[in-house]
């Protein structure tokens, strides 16, 4: 089945810094989602982005399906951005597979 990798595994930032999280997947996908898991364990939808670029406030995401990767950009990070960021990729006709996550800590 599809393999989903995320990098870096851990990231520590000072408040106000920018960051880029990467998600690589080993097979063609027709769906991809980014989630933020907050310290209480809730998975919050960030982007549903099988291809192209989307922006939502300080966050944006780009998926290049032909090259099998997706990027999540966080600008002007805040302490509330701390948590674990997951990408989940879905090949056509199959289930979503989650990556191992990137644990982000934003320091005040």
């Amino acid at each position: 089945g599809i393999q989903v990798e995320q990098s870096p595994p851990d990231l520590i930032l000072q408040e106000g810094a920018n960051s880029t999280l990467r998600c690589n997947f080993s097979d063609s996908v027709n769906n991809l989602q980014w989630f933020h898991q907050n310290p209480w364990g809730q998975l919050i939808n960030l982007f549903y982005i099988p291809s192209g670029t989307k922006q939502n406030g300080r966050l944006s995401a780009t998926t290049v399906a032909t090259e099998r990767y997706s990027l999540l950009y966080i600008s002007s990070s805040q302490t509330t951005d701390s948590g674990v960021y997951f990408c989940a990729a879905q090949p056509y006709g199959q289930n979503f597979v989650f990556g191992p996550g990137t644990r982000l800590s934003v320091l005040p």
Partner: protein, 118 residues
């Protein structure tokens, strides 16, 4: 619009006891998923329903786990008997599914049930 509802939020049981988790998906969502999340890892699919049909239960340990989605709305996941290794967070998610010939697969998650088996 209400999100995915799960109960209980926390459950502590002794090994060999049974336990059940309940999920009510977003209204109108045809697809329902149960995931297992171990500490420090991403969620892993246990079972996927399309309406009341379990279309993929290949990852469900059927010797002790069972699930049902009567009437294609809410769902129950059961473990009997529970083992120490079942301690984890059990997540339910839903998506709209097939509508007008188009698949809408964006998943929305509930808050999860944290199970501790002693």
């Amino acid at each position: 619009e209400a999100g995915v509802v799960q109960s209980p939020r926390y459950k502590i049981i002794e090994k060999k006891q049974p336990v059940a988790f309940w999920c009510n998906p977003i209204s109108g969502h045809n697809t329902l998923y149960w995931y297992l999340q171990n500490l420090g890892q991403g969620p892993e699919l246990l079972i996927r329903y399309e309406n009341e049909e379990a279309v993929d239960d290949s990852q469900l340990p059927k010797d002790r786990f069972s699930a049902e989605r009567l009437k294609g709305v809410d769902s129950t996941l059961k473990i009997q008997p529970a083992e120490l290794g079942d301690s984890a967070v059990y997540l339910c998610a839903s998506s709209l599914g097939l509508a007008g010939g188009i698949s809408y697969n964006e998943q929305f998650f509930g808050p999860g049930t944290r199970l501790t088996v002693l």
